[in-house]
Assembly symmetry: C2
Homo-oligomer: 212 residues x 2
Amino acid sequence: MARRGLLLILSSPSGAGKSTLARRLMDWDPTLKFSVSATTRNPRPGEEDGVHYHFRDHDTFRAMVAEGQMLEHAEVFGNYYGSPRGPVEQAMREGRDTLFDVDWQGGQQIRNSALGQDVVSVFILPPSIAELERRLRGRGQDSEEVIAGRMAKSQAEISHWAEYDYVLVNHDIDQAARELITIVEAERLRRARQPALVDFVRGLDTEFAALN
Amino acid sequence: MARRGLLLILSSPSGAGKSTLARRLMDWDPTLKFSVSATTRNPRPGEEDGVHYHFRDHDTFRAMVAEGQMLEHAEVFGNYYGSPRGPVEQAMREGRDTLFDVDWQGGQQIRNSALGQDVVSVFILPPSIAELERRLRGRGQDSEEVIAGRMAKSQAEISHWAEYDYVLVNHDIDQAARELITIVEAERLRRARQPALVDFVRGLDTEFAALN
């Protein structure tokens, strides 16, 4: 039956496994639409425009915001980040779900947008801060200063955990992935996401009427 | 982590597979507490007091209602049915979920009770009315009049499908059972049902503080 697409917001501090979980979810259901953020920051090595981010200059980004093309946007460390509205609305028309990898500010704005009723939000917590730091250092490509900055941002991000519908603690990536998939499967079964049920029940009523 | 128990309300017209699904759910998680209804109707062959129902006379039942011992109650075909409050509150204290096999009136009353915020409600629809009638007749122990009465009650029950959080169409009992289990698994991951997360996040904050 045709469904009403949902907006799945995934937030977590950097290093809690969010990107891996997003990838696992996309592997499980390739019809999920990943919301590619727009940003004014420079591409890092290996990042492709339109795949990892839509890379835009400041003027273009501001114009998009002014024209209402952004579902949400925020400034982080002097750069703008935002979620373009068009692809999300198209996915919803097609009955497809959209996955957002955004921070608490992005999550808050999407929840407070006109599409707020379609939001399901999930926060991923690390099992410990020691483990979080280990994962952040594991990338081995950043200075102490950058790591200290990320840890401070992680603490701020975690402080918003209670704004989310669901909370997973990523003790084990396989279990966390299963839990995330379970949440999406269940949310798809919500009455409000199955508009075709209205016609289905009307059909049952017609059958009843034919009996009498 | 200790959870806050939920109240799972399962409703459907007679013959849509609700009892089988309830049993499957109990097999999957034997810690689920099944809410045994109290009733004033006479036991059918094979029904045991305290297992299938708490069989009570009218005076006793009315006294229980008057003393606030019933979470909900209703009159159906001249008999009273109701859900005793005590076992539900005990299950919640133990962090266990309670399963209610009730009709729309019972569901409505539990949702509107003081425990309403802990309710998750699921409605089971039959794939067709022809199939519903086939299953009702399959029992082969009832008169045409009784079957006609049940079909009329089924139609009334189905008219309340839109009051439920989740709706399953029972095309296939195995799939419907999997879907029901998925709903319970996901609902247990809701932030509001994991009060222990407050202490867990406090622990993360302490770890952060120790870093600075």
